[in-house]
Every structure is written in C-alpha cells, then in structure tokens.
Subunit: 196 residues, 2 copies
Amino acid sequence: MQMTGQRQRQADRTAATRTKLIAAARDLFAEKGYAATSTPEVVAAAGVTRGALYHHFAEKLGLFRAVVEEEHALLAMTINAAAGGDDELGPIKALLQGGDAFLTAMQDPGRRRILLIDAPAVLGRAELDAIDARHGLRTLVEGLSAAIDAKAIRQLPLQPLAHLLGALFDRAALADAHALPDYRKAVRALIRGLKV
Amino acid sequence: MQMTGQRQRQADRTAATRTKLIAAARDLFAEKGYAATSTPEVVAAAGVTRGALYHHFAEKLGLFRAVVEEEHALLAMTINAAAGGDDELGPIKALLQGGDAFLTAMQDPGRRRILLIDAPAVLGRAELDAIDARHGLRTLVEGLSAAIDAKAIRQLPLQPLAHLLGALFDRAALADAHALPDYRKAVRALIRGLKV
DNA sequence: TTTGCATACATACAGCCTGCCTGTTATGAA
DNA sequence: TTCATAACAGGCAGGCTGTATGTATGCAAA
C-alpha cells in the first residue's frame, strides 16, 4: 500500500516549505525585527516565492505567529531538559532553578528580540499570553501552585502572581550579560521574599 | 522692543504645529497602534500637511518618540501629584503608594498601548530605558535607595532591582481592570518580601 | 491508465505608505 | 525695502503588502 507513502510526499512537501519559510523568517526577524523584515527578503532567504508564502500563511503576521509558536516550544523544551530533572528539590528551589534555566535559554539575542520585544507589540498582549499559557507560563503556574500547596510561599492569587513572576524573568532576560548576575540576585531575593 | 514678540510668533507657530501633530498622533497611536497608523492619517487629523510633519520630524519614528516623551512626562506629573505629598511615610509605604499611583495613572488604555506595548518594540529597549531613566524610573531608584539606606529593605543591586520592580508594575498595569486588585495584592506582597 | 479535482505553488497587479525633493509663502534681521 | 531663512505645500520614486489569476504537481476514482 503506497497510499501512505504518496500522501506523505504531499505532506512532506508542505512541511518542507513551511519549515524553510519559518527558519528563514526566524533568522531575519531575530536579526532585524518584524517591521524591518520584508516578505521578499524572507522568501529569498528561504529559496521559495511569495506565492508559496501566501499559500501557507494568510498574511505576514501569520508567519510571525508561527515563528513565535515554534520559538516558544523550543524554549519550553530547553528549559524542561535543563530543569525538569530534579523532582525532589523543594518548591522554592525548583522555582529558582527553573528561572535560572529560563535565563540561560534566553541568552540568544534573536530569541529575546522575537519573544520579548516584538511579539507583545505585533501579536498583542492577549494573544501572546494565550501562547505563553500553553508553554512556559503553565509550568510556572504549576510550580507556584505546588509551592503554595506545600505552604512554602504565601498564599496569593495564582494567575496574577505567575504573570508577575513571568514579567520579572522576562525583564531579567533582557539585561545586559554583564549585569545578569545582579539581576539574578534580585530576582532570587524577590522570590525568596514570598516565603511564608 | 518687539523682537521678543516677533520671535515669539515664530516660536508659537512652530509650537502650535508640533502640538497639533503630537496630539493627533497620540490619539491615533493610542487607538490603532504605531504600525497601523499612517502619516496621512495623522496630518489629516492634525489639519496640516505631510510637508509640515516632515519639516518638524525627520521620520515617522521621531513623531512617535515625541509622543512617548510627552506621555512619559504627563505620567510622571500625574504620579508626583498623587503620591508626592506625604514625605514622612516610611520608605516601603512610599513605594507602595507610588506604585498605586502608577497603576491608577496607567488605567488609560491608550497610554498603556503607547508606553507598554508599542514603545519597547518601536524604540527598542535601550532607548525606552533612557527615556524612562529620566522620568519614572528615577523616582523609583530614589525611593529604593532611600529604603535601602534606611535599612527598610534588603541590600540589593539598585539598578537591577529598580528595573525589575518597574517591569512588575508595568505588567500589573496591563492586567484587566477586574483582575487589578489581585495584581495589586501580589505586587505588594513581592515588595513587602524585600523587607530586611 | 486516464480523468478530474484539489493542493501547491508562480507571477503580475493594484493600492498604499514612507521619505525625499523641489517649489512657495511667511517671518525676521539689516 | 531687501534678503536670508524658517515653515510649510505638493509631487515623485521606490518598496511593500495582499490579492487575483494562471500553472504544475499530486492523487483518488473510474
């Protein structure tokens, strides 16, 4: 039965084009930002035509959305790989370690630009929060929830606290590399201050 | 001596045009965002021509910069008026009160869009930080410095801590109005956690 | 195997926008 | 009054986005 094989060929073709477009767009968005990146540039870098782009994505925004989704997923993977190991660490230590993993994973300037600088303005807070809720924020909420249940930190509104800590980490990630240790210290102090 | 009067006339003319442009741009940027606002729209709303705009501003970005500066100054004025009164309040109370004033002053959605959503992406973090350093962040740094000197909060790197708290307040300001009390509560807890 | 349809592109086009450039008018010093 | 300069006005070139139309390839059914 070659049906699967044939269908796969189609799917592969589609996937290959999408992948090339997203990869090329990611690099350009990372380097020059969303607004300064034109679709002709993207398709030239990807080795396809604008027709292909607009066949797969309704608009330039859709391509950016896809890039953000992928970058977010990659980020979550990296963090889970780095901080997902130790389970018996205590809720606060787990939070701090997760935060460190996040800051490390965010050292790529392109990633910072896409996720922290452009995405909020291009996609809007609401949509970016929705994406974030499916990836990084979820684990943060879980960690905080565990910490509160274990009475390791004060009882506070979960979602707001998670968003605020997320903003804290985002801001720390934007710090100059040489200032990062100080930011790390301040973040840790703020989190430790939540202890009951 | 009419020299002053004449010079004033020129200056007034310039100031009037600039004011009209900035006011019109502020409203449009607030409503539709920077990218979706065109210079033809702006000049139509301001009742001038594109020639006037490009005479006063080198590019569209310069107009946005001016809007951000003004909005930042207005914000600082509002906060100072609301929270600058009580001087003998204790450093932590003063911080919390200043934060509340900030959140109140940030309730205007247009202001939020301009300062918190668009500005970081359009101007870049570095330039926005430079602007912020001259307005809101300065008072925050002073407040924190006083609190540390008074040994009311733990000794931590000043600039990073200020930027982190700034990010905290920014995020809280973006919360839905109905969730604001919970955000406020969480922010207060985080700040109180800094006590020695 | 062939036929017919859908998917995956390619290309040309219309409309808009930005920044610049050239001309014109108002202003102020001499 | 004269002349220089600032403050505009209007037009133009280049580029970009999204769309519409045309073409080739894949693939399921007859």
